[in-house]
Amino acid sequence: MDFNTEYGVDGEDTGPRVTIRRTNETTIDFMLSSTSLSLANSLRRTMLAEIPTIAVDLVEIEANTSVLADEFLAHRLGLIPLSTRNVEDMIYTRDCTCEEFCDNCAVILRLHAANRNSDENVKVFAKDLFAETVSGQPIQDARYQRNGAVDGLSSSEELPPRGQPVIMDPKGNGSLICQLRRGQELRVRCIAKKGIAKEHAKWAPTAAIGFEYDPHNKLRHTTLWYEGTNAKEEWPESKNKDWEEPAPDGEAFRYDSEPTQFYVNLEGTGVMPPDQILHAGIKTLQQKLATVIQQLSTTTDSGHELNGAAGDAGMGGMSPPDPAANGTAYGNQTAYGGQTPAYAQQTAYGGQTPGYGGAGSAYGGMGGATPYGRSGY
């Protein structure tokens, strides 16, 4: 029950620590220490799934005589990495006040490729996508003034303008989209929007996150499977083994020690510089907390209105109710009944299960007789 000793008096030495071990344009390898496993894992999960990026979301096919089907092409176009420069200023299309989409919430990319008379296949690359504004004006991009794609990402200023494809190969071609034989043509208009990987993996800014702790298994969080007699002989040693002391042979197992050092290898896809991925991860995590704090304070201000699922009749037979407190709380049902249509309309993650809308309206109607109301507390 020592609450504050982790952030002790001399804050510099006892708080969380970061040691960067290796970097390159796409990867940062660092060690995080004196934090909890919960925070390190939450950060890892956020960086993988909840950082907003930009990717093609709608494809209008004007002409496609290639061998690939329309939807096949649309799928591939969605996976093309697009630059996320200034993505914080971009609004989600669903939140934007415009009708359909505008320059604040979308990036339009056009592609027009044809093989008129070449015997060799014409390859359509990501570099052939060119951006334009919603009204059709082409956007001048600084892409072609870049020196070379090899060190194209050593600072976020060198990312192409927002929404333009990220090109990292030495020839400057970008991803191969499709190939066209003589006489085949491809003409599309792509609308790229902001989103997160929870909705679709095309919006993921990370290629992979390597995450390890306790390379010598001193905490016994795992048991190593073995065939013969000795697990240690059969398992290769971790790359991080030199960063921690192995347990001396005769030493007893310390059952109350916690993991404190985490070895993280963060690799981005190139749409965002890796340190920006980490900053965005922390910022997103804090925004989640801020949203919850805000919900907590706006609803507790108006008395016990947080309680929307309670009914006077069916309280679920839980702990002895306090009649005074519950009278006012449960009496305020109408405000919550009114909230439920909003539930059915939420398409924030695109995958709102219909059950939600149904369960939501049941709250307004029947109060405590819902599955959530009776979750066994």
Partner: protein, 135 residues
Amino acid sequence: MATDGDHEMADATAGAEANGTSGDFVKEKQRLRLLPGSSDTQASFAFEKEDHTLGNALRYMIMKNPDVEFCGYSIPHPSETVMNLRIQTWDNVSVMDVLKRGLSDLADLCDVVEDKFTAARDDFNDSHPDRVATK
């Protein structure tokens, strides 16, 4: 039952708008609910659209508070994005205060980690000018 529900919702819509609970009705999502049977010193919350990312970190931070007798979270079903969090406190400490404190402490922890990372990255850049980690 269907008509009862409709009737209730129709009334409630009018009531909610009359209350003036923010003009933008569609955007007002209730993401945090108090489950029935809760009192001032022990409560269960249901967070919509949250999962282990918030749940585990928040549980860890709340458990560090010495006033907390019990804190745990669960995800009732993986197909529905709901996370339940239960807090029980000693003496007469309010659960809302404990939750608020846990949330703000977690936000502070994130700030500290970010600052340490930025400092470490700047140091690395200074000592390795050839392989600059990005700004």
